[in-house]
């Protein structure tokens, strides 16, 4: 349809256009000409530093190191490049064999990563990524030396996903730090990272992570295929990718999950999922994503399973309250008063007397006010945020009721909804949309409208897939083995298989029947896990 419209309005060429790739220019053998080439590419930016020096090997050679200030580690440049080339080189009489640039690489440079290149695009990319380029007069090749080093944020606990027990670390903006944090969680050689660069201009490093042996190879292939397809200018956050690779781009439900926690990522990888790391953001995408994941919190596995189960029920309850409460309120008070117990009905009717607006309008307006307060609270600086809550609570909550603009039950309903909607943060965006839609439907059609809305949502949810896995997976289609982590959180020793829809190539996670028993019973037992290769 969109394609059709595009063609109709003669806009088809918009789709065909792809950014041109520059031809790779070769280096000259003259130093000045080479530096001119670099200046042409990089311009006269003040952060591009060219350090000229004289290299004294057989004879005096003009040389230069080129790097971008701020992206490099000064210490590495001085200790491992300039010092050996300027000072150490003079001390000995070298018998230079072979190509000069190879000789320098082999004998003088004391840095880990050194790449030889003779084309401009590669070298420019290296400089922009934080490498230093060593140019020597008379050589038509250059060395890109790994000198990356820049200001980093230290590892802190993520603000959005806090736990009571459990690790206090979250990912940072540096992809290397992040992958290292994951390696520290999973010391398995099967943990693989596949790196690629996405973004025509930003050339963002993107890593696909998975655990070989658990993951379904087809899934990795699919992720790779979808990522390779992307042709865009910039990738600044994980969401820039997930919007390109999600299965249902128009669906408000997230079919690619986000997390900032290494422990969550590790757990998901070990269930057979794939993680996508993006440089420059602490947020990591994981896929495939199930609806149920929104209700599973890392703390579920850090607490006793009975308590965790109860908390999970609370979470379900809060989710449904968050989307349904205003709609129910509207439906009950407008259409189905007979369902409200009589004493409650009387007190509600008394409270609502004299309110000038229909209840739907009231509820939607109060909902909007709440969303405004929330948004303001999020964006404002912390100290001013306090003011917002006072204004919200006192002025809007108290005064509107006192003035008779809004009925007190409405305020109670909206407040309860607001609190409930924060319990399941992953589904918060969808919650707002559903809540509004259902409230309107309830205003038009009463309980029947709510039902139609829920039915449409259910149909939508059942039709969703995330990387081939049904979105409502352990519930529809029903899989008995996976009920261990849906309504109840069974003890960890009882979760002996990986999720059927995701990690089924190697289903066995741990030995069966490891529930702690008395020493006498344990004595003769064989703890070895069933053969992992089967299935």
């Amino acid at each position: 349809m969109i394609r059709f419209l595009l063609r109709k309005f003669g806009l088809a060429h918009l789709r065909k256009e792809s950014p041109s790739t520059p031809e790779g220019k070769l280096l000259h053998s003259d130093l000045e000409e080479n530096l001119a080439l670099f200046r042409e590419e990089l311009g006269n930016s003040p952060d591009v530093i060219i350090r000229r020096f004289t290299l004294n090997l057989r004879n005096e050679l003009k040389s230069a190191v080129l790097f971008i200030d701020g992206l490099i580690d000064q210490q590495v440049i001085y200790d491992s490049i300039l010092y050996p080339l300027m000072i150490e080189a003079k001390k000995e009489k070298w018998a230079v064999k072979g190509h000069l640039i190879d000789f320098i690489e082999d004998n003088l440079l004391t840095v880990g990563g050194v790449d030889k290149d003779d084309r401009m695009p590669g070298l420019v990319a290296a400089v922009l990524a934080g490498d230093s380029v060593l140019l020597v007069d008379g050589c038509d090749q250059a060395l890109a030396i790994s000198t990356k080093g820049w200001e980093k944020r230290s590892i802190t606990e993520p603000d959005t996903e806090q736990t009571i027990k459990g690790p206090r670390e979250g990912f940072t903006e540096n992809i290397r730090t992040n992958t290292a944090m994951l390696r520290r969680k999973i010391a398995d050689p099967g943990l693989k990272f596949e790196q690629m660069k996405i973004g025509e201009r930003t050339r963002t490093k993107v890593s696909i992570a998975y655990v070989k042996g658990i993951v379904n190879e087809k899934l990795v292939e699919e992720v790779r295929r979808r990522l390779k397809r992307i042709n865009t200018d910039m990738v600044l956050d994980a969401n820039y990718l997930s919007e390109f690779i999600s299965d249902a781009p128009f669906s408000p439900f997230p079919t690619v999950a986000f997390t900032e926690r290494p422990d969550v990522t590790a757990a998901k990888l070990l269930e057979g999922r794939v993680a996508i790391f993006v440089d420059g953001t602490p947020v990591v995408n994981t896929a495939p994503t199930l609806f149920i994941e929104s209700f599973q919190n890392p703390d579920d596995y850090n607490f006793h399973f009975l308590f965790a189960t109860m908390i999970r029920w609370i979470r379900y309850l809060a989710f449904f309250l968050g989307i349904l409460l205003p709609a129910f309120f509207v439906a009950l008070t407008t259409y189905h008063q007979e369902l409200i117990p009589t004493p409650l009905l009387i007190s509600m009717a008394a409270a609502m007397e004299g309110v000038p607006f229909p209840i739907v309008i009231e509820v939607v307006a109060m909902g909007a006010v709440f969303e405004i307060l929330r948004e303001a609270g999020v964006r404002l600086a912390r100290p001013i945020g306090q003011t917002i809550s006072i204004v919200g609570a006192l002025v809007i909550g108290q005064a509107t009721v006192a003035a008779g603009l809004v009925a007190a039950p409405t305020v109670i309903v909206i407040a309860l909804t607001a609190i409930a909607s924060f319990v399941v943060p992953t589904q918060q965006e969808i919650g707002i949309i559903l809540r509004l839609g259902l409230t309107f439907l309830a205003g038009i059609l009463g309980a029947y409208g709510i039902l139609v809305g829920l039915l449409l949502t259910l149909i939508h949810l059942t039709s969703l897939r995330s990387f081939g896995v049904p979105y409502l997976s352990p519930v529809i289609p029903l899989s008995i083995e996976d009920q261990k982590d849906v309504i109840v959180r069974t003890p960890l020793w009882a979760m002996w298989t990986r999720p059927r829809s995701i990690g089924w190539p190697r289903p066995i996670r741990q030995g069966f029947g490891q529930s702690p028993t008395s020493p006498e019973e344990t004595a003769g037992k064989d703890w070895s896990r069933p053969d992992d290769k089967k299935g």
């Binding site: 349809m1 059709f4 419209l5």
Partner: protein
């Protein structure tokens, strides 16, 4: 009211037809147009208050008629 009906049907056509043309599904387009035309006609009749026959009533007549033709007692 008629205006609303036509607007609704126009909306359906706008949503459905372009993708059919795009994929060159001419046969499907013909069938679609036929059914939607019948639907539009009947809806317009209904909104104008034209008395249309009731399905159950007609079927009852048909089947009792058939039964009598075969010499059976109705019911």
């Amino acid at each position: 009211m008629i205006f609303l009906v036509i607007l609704g049907f126009g909306l359906i056509v706008v949503v459905e037809v372009p993708s059919l043309i795009c994929r060159q599904y001419w046969r499907e387009l013909v069938v679609f147009s036929f059914f939607i035309f019948v639907g539009l006609l009947l809806t317009v009749f209904l909104t104008l208050g034209v008395e249309l026959p009731y399905i159950d009533v007609e079927l009852t007549k048909l089947i009792t008629g058939l039964g009598e033709a075969l010499g059976l007692k109705p019911g």
